[in-house]
Assembly symmetry: C2
DNA sequence: CCCAATTTGGACTTGACAGTCCAGTTGTGG
DNA sequence: CCACAACTGGACTGTCAAGTCCAAATTGGG
């Protein structure tokens, strides 16, 4: 099993990007186990050699796709993540996620979270990558809450880290219920509860 | 593809049970995609014919296993589920789940919830079975909260259905974070927040 | 006890998929 | 413009898993 190569030419970079992009879509559509390398080949027109030139093996590709997926999620939420230091900013963030689920007709759940159940027990590397991705996400909220505490908007005994974790749990759980029940209100309800809990720490 | 047969003799019933039991273990250990029928055969000593005699195909077996898994979860939580009509009862339930994760070293997550991300998009029948299972679980809490409201322990404007849903979201999200981060405190934190939210509806 | 239904063993077919390999093509720095 | 590295096409192998099929064994009701 040859090692993965970093593309050296513009053409190579483009190929690698195309593969990653298609693999990310397929992973979201068909799940980790459902995505085959032949699927990726079909969607990109790439040959086997290309896949194995840029990625050591299937697992290597999956790990790379996880990172790309995290980037995509954080990118999509964009500026919203920089303003999680006010109640209004947090509400906008919550509303955005609910709206997103409505548009997607409650399909797919969280691109990161739903990989967790699929890979956490079978692929340690993937588990680590997912954990790292969730951490990057949660950090935005934790930092925002910390700033609020500094500005006296949160009580002195508030624990931004715990508040952020509990909120992430509500997000992930709400998305899971939304996905299983095909009902975006599940996320709305979960986020309302998360909001209530955050508010308890308000001054 | 021959249809599934209901066992007619004691021996047949025993075989079907053995298969279901082993398949349930394997599903929890290796995930939905990771479990092969050969794995089930190896663990039970059953032959191919036996599998296909009692189950129409792989999907049929998986659906049956989901039901069995839900029964196992509800069974394990046993009486606790009958006393979700007091703060103390709810706390005991929460504590039990956290303790269970500690004992399992934060591995495996929720046997039901982690199947959601694996099957919700690829197997509609499984999605329905999982939704039904979660509903059975949530119903215990919703019923308990409803009794509390009747007894005046919850405010008149409290919505037991929404409270139960939000709590389930915290449970599932807390378990997901616990699994990914290999840290049972994630569930503890999520459940503390869920408790705070429930308490807001107290009289 | 006997016969029909139930249950079981296991060979076989088919297809999918990961990964290897090498020859051929394309790009690029000197 | 050439030599070498980067890149690509695609045939090939090995493995594993799902599902089919039929004959043999077992069981239980009459």
């Amino acid at each position: 099993m040859g090692n993965a190569h970093v593309p050296a030419t513009a053409k190579g970079r483009a190929t690698r990007e195309r593969i990653l992009q298609a693999a990310a879509e397929l992973l979201a559509e068909k799940g980790a186990a459902g995505m085959s390398l032949d699927d990726v080949r079909a969607r990109t027109g790439a040959s086997r050699s290309q896949l194995y030139h840029y990625f050591a093996d299937r697992d290597d590709l999956v790990h790379a796709v996880i990172d790309v997926t995290v980037d995509a999620v954080l990118g999509r939420q964009g500026e919203l993540l920089d303003h999680l230091d006010s109640w209004a900013g947090i509400d906008r963030w919550f509303d955005f996620m609910v709206q997103h689920q409505i548009e997607r007709q409650a399909r797919g759940g969280c691109p990161i979270g739903s990989l967790a159940g699929q890979l956490a027990e079978s692929d340690p590397g993937a588990r680590a990558a997912i954990a790292a991705g969730l951490e990057r996400w949660e950090a935005h909220l934790r930092d925002g809450l910390t700033r609020m505490k500094t500005r006296g908007k949160l009580r002195n005994d508030a624990d931004p880290a715990a508040l952020a974790s509990a909120t992430m749990a509500s997000i992930q759980g709400g998305l899971l219920l939304t996905q299983v029940r095909r009902d975006p209100n599940q996320l709305r309800t979960a986020l309302n509860a998360a909001r209530n809990n955050l508010r308890l720490a308000a001054t």
